[in-house]
Symmetry: D2
Subunit: 143 residues, 4 copies
C-alpha cells in the first residue's frame, strides 16, 4: 500500500500526553488516532451518525482492531492518518488505516478496524443500510 | 494534613501508559486517580449511585479540580490515594485527596474535587439528599 | 475574563475517546487540552524547548493545575483554548487558560497551570532565563 | 481457548475514565489493559526489566497488536486479563491475552501482542537472551 491508495487523510500533531517514557507514542493511542480518523472520514454534510442511531435503533460496535507498528512516532510529529473502506460485508465494515509522516511516503504504521452493525434492542447483527453503502461509495469515488 | 487525616485509601500501581517522556506520571492522570478513588470511597453495599441517578433524575457534575504536584511519581510506583469529604454544602460536596507512597508519610500530591448535584431535566442545582449526607457521615466516622 | 483577553488560541475538535458515559468530555482531558495549548502557545521559530533542556540542564515541572468546569463539552464540539501568561515569578510561570466554543464568547471552562523551572541535577528551582521572559513578552505583545 | 490455558491473570476494575458514551470500555483502553497485564506477568523478584535495558542497551518494541472484541465491558466491571507467551522467536516474543469476567469463563475479548528486541544504538533486532527465555519458561511452567 502507499499514500496514493487513500483519498482521505486526517492530520494530527502528536501531543505530549500521548508519548511514553521511550519518548514515542504509546501503543494504545494509535487506536485513538484510528477512531478519530474514521469519524472524520465519515463526516459528511449529508450524513448524521447520531440520527442513524436514533432513527434505526442500531449502532456500530468495533469487533476487531489490528495495528502493525512500523516505526516509532516521536513527540510533536506532524502525522496524517489515511483511511479507506476495505470491504463492506452484510453487517460489517472494514476500515484500512495507515499513518504517514505528513505529506510524505514515510509510513509509521498500518492497521485495520472492523465495525459490526447491531440492533441495540435485540443485540442481533443487522444489514448495513444502503445510505451508508452509498455514502462510502461516494467517499471512495472521491465525490 | 497527614495520612492520619484519612480513613479511606485506594491503591494504585502506576501503569506504563500513565507516564510521560520525563518518566513520571503525566499531570492529567492525577485526575483519573482522584476520580477512581472517589468512586471507591463512595462504594458501599447500602449505596447505589446508578439507582440515585435513575430514581431522582439528578446527577453530580464535577465543577472544580485542583491538584498541587509535590513530587514526581515514577513508573511502577505503589501509591495510595487518601480521600475524605471536606465539606457538604447545599448542593455541593468537596472531596479532599492526597497521594502517598504506599504505607508511608511521603506525599506526592494533594488536591480537591468539587461536585454539584444537578437536576438532569431542569439543569438546576439540587440539595444533596439526606441518604448521601448520612452515607458520608458514616464513612467519615469509620463505620 | 473574555475572549478578547487572549492573543493566542489553539483549536480542538472533541474526540470520541475523550467523552464519558455522560456524553461529555471527561474531566481529566481538560488538562490534556491545557497542556497541548501551552505547547502550541510557546511554539515559535526562534524558541526550541528541547534545546533549553539540553543546554541548561533545566526543565519545567508542573506544580499546580486548577480547572473550573462551567458547562459540559459534548462530543464533536469545535472548541478553542485561549492561553496567556498570567505572571512570571523568579522560577515560575503561571498560564491562564479558558475554553470557548469556537469563535464565540460562550465559555466552557477556565483554569490555571503553574510551571516551575528546576535544575535536573540539583533538583533546585532556577530563575526563568531572560530568553523565555523575552519570548513570552513578545507573544503577549502580539508580535 | 479457555481460562484453564492461563497460569497468570491480572485483575482490573473498569474505571469511569475508561468508558465511552456507549457506557462501555473504549476500544483503545484494551491495549492499556494488555500492556499492564504483560508488565505484571513479567514481574518477578529475579527479573529486572530496567536492568536489562541498562546492561544490554537493548529494549523491546511493540510491533503488533490485535484485539477481538467479543462482548462490551461495562463500567465498574471486575475483570481479569489472562496472559501467556504464545511463541518466542529469534528476536520476538508473542503474548496471548484474554479478558474474562473475574473468576468466570465468560470472555470479553482476546488478542495478541508481539514485541521485538532491538539494539537501541544500531536499531537492529537482537536475539532474545537466555535469561528471558528461561524466565518465561519458568512462568509458564507455573514455578
Amino acid at each position: 500500500m502507499a499514500r496514493s491508495d487513500f483519498k482521505f487523510f486526517h492530520d494530527f500533531r502528536v501531543r505530549y500526553s500521548e508519548i511514553d517514557a521511550q519518548g514515542i507514542v504509546f501503543n494504545a493511542h494509535y487506536l485513538t488516532y484510528f477512531d478519530t480518523a474514521i469519524t472524520e472520514y465519515l463526516r459528511r454534510d449529508e450524513f448524521d451518525y447520531s440520527a442513524l442511531v436514533k432513527e434505526t435503533g442500531c449502532d456500530f460496535h468495533l469487533v476487531k482492531s489490528l495495528v502493525n507498528y512500523e516505526k516509532p512516532i516521536p513527540f510533536d510529529e506532524d502525522i496524517e492518518v489515511g483511511c479507506r473502506t476495505g470491504a463492506i460485508g452484510n453487517s460489517s465494515v472494514t476500515f484500512i488505516l495507515e499513518i504517514f509522516k505528513k505529506g510524505q511516503e514515510d509510513r509509521f504504521a498500518n492497521g485495520e478496524i472492523i465495525w459490526v452493525l447491531t440492533d441495540q434492542t435485540t443485540h442481533k447483527t443487522v444489514r448495513v443500510p444502503d445510505n451508508i453503502r452509498n455514502l462510502i461509495e461516494k467517499i471512495e469515488s472521491g465525490q
